[in-house]
Symmetry: D2
Subunit: 136 residues, 4 copies
């Protein structure tokens, strides 16, 4: 799986975005460690707090299909915006710190930015933090 | 599409539940108005607030595949518990008040309960409530 | 504590609403079983999914002040809209089925609607459903 | 307002934590640009996805009291864990990149870690990203 293919999946998913409230269509795609690709778009809600970002849709779709570990993520937004903090946290549940995250704009002529999860969520809080509490 | 088939899809989705924190595995399946079926399991997160219920995973997976209207929903939980209020709200974005919601327990010998969305979310708040504000 | 006072607290909280994205200002107030009143407004976020409704702000503010049980809730919106399903679920964590919920419009000349939590969230899913899983 | 006072407010708020499901008590406190301090604890929910972290409770309580800009944040957890990505996103709505975030452990003998918001949420997505879509 190369970057180009994953970005194409994210662009394709973006076409389905349900964003009547913000107008900000987002598409995402995740590559899982067993070589499968799952896409997702943002799914908004009139009760804004029930909105789900594209990245989380892609991740939960993958998990529902039995995947548990992410190998690469691609996100496409109008302006090339990065994943929000909420999505970074969800990625951290299923991806390693070195997880590659590709961020592209709707305009394919614009450059793709490349991050790792650790770059976007440094000093992350995660499952190992919780473990201590549950062991009490 | 009969009820039996949709419930089977929900039972199948439940097998993939990622519920290491609660231990409460849930599976859901939605039938869309174009005759497709999409399943989902609950996907928990160490940061509990980032957890996504099975119903919302199924709905957002369907929306990402281009669906916009729901025709039937099935949910399977350990004890036959109903969808939470958060999920009822998300169902209301894409389903009519008369949307049938089937609720089953893990034990297939137990009876299936049948609700409509209006029964589970009466006097609902929805997109039409928001419309007034946006028109201001 | 009479209904009029709680509604006034909700109206007052609504004046602080941070709703730059929806324009739908909401105020809420909760009466706790120890006789205290806590207000809250909706607090939106550019990442719509991080938005918190007024009802949940009021409840979490109350819990942070040591309260654990709700005795009455009041909500004021532009059009007299009811609490969303997400908020109904949060109310169910801290309130009994018979919890009175007053719903009013911005225009004080309009009638106040009165519900119980059980009327707004029938066949609720709650802590007792989870208990079975955790006991496994 | 010195750091010691804000940390003390976060420690105090932590005592009210409602964390029956995770056992991971968290306290937070925010200093607003008008010199006020607001505390919050985490407020969990049997439906894990409805859980609100302490940081978000403190922020939304502050906003409901009329505050709009944050000047400092303090968080106290069992093990000195950092804020999750979801909370970092909410802080970004109301705080500048240089917002100081103090992170302490329950044991006051352990060292306090100091971050800025930009350090915890680099390459942030925020309101300015959304603006483009809404202007379309």
């Amino acid at each position: 799986m190369d970057e180009h293919t994953l970005l194409a999946a994210a662009r394709s998913a973006r076409l389905q975005a349900y964003a009547p409230y913000s107008g900000y269509a987002v598409g995402a795609a995740v590559l899982t460690d067993d070589g499968r690709v799952f896409g997702g778009c943002n799914v908004e809600n009139a009760m804004y707090g029930a909105t789900v970002c594209a990245e989380r849709v892609a991740v939960t779709t993958a998990v529902s299909a039995g995947a548990r570990r992410l190998s690469m993520v691609a996100v496409v937004t109008l302006n090339g915006g990065t994943p929000c903090g909420f999505c970074r946290q969800v990625l951290a549940e299923f991806g390693p710190p070195e997880l590659p995250i590709l961020v592209a704009a709707a305009d394919p002529a614009l450059p793709v930015r490349r991050f790792t999860l650790a770059q976007l969520l440094p000093a992350a809080w995660g499952p190992e933090d919780l473990a201590g509490a549950r062991a009490d």
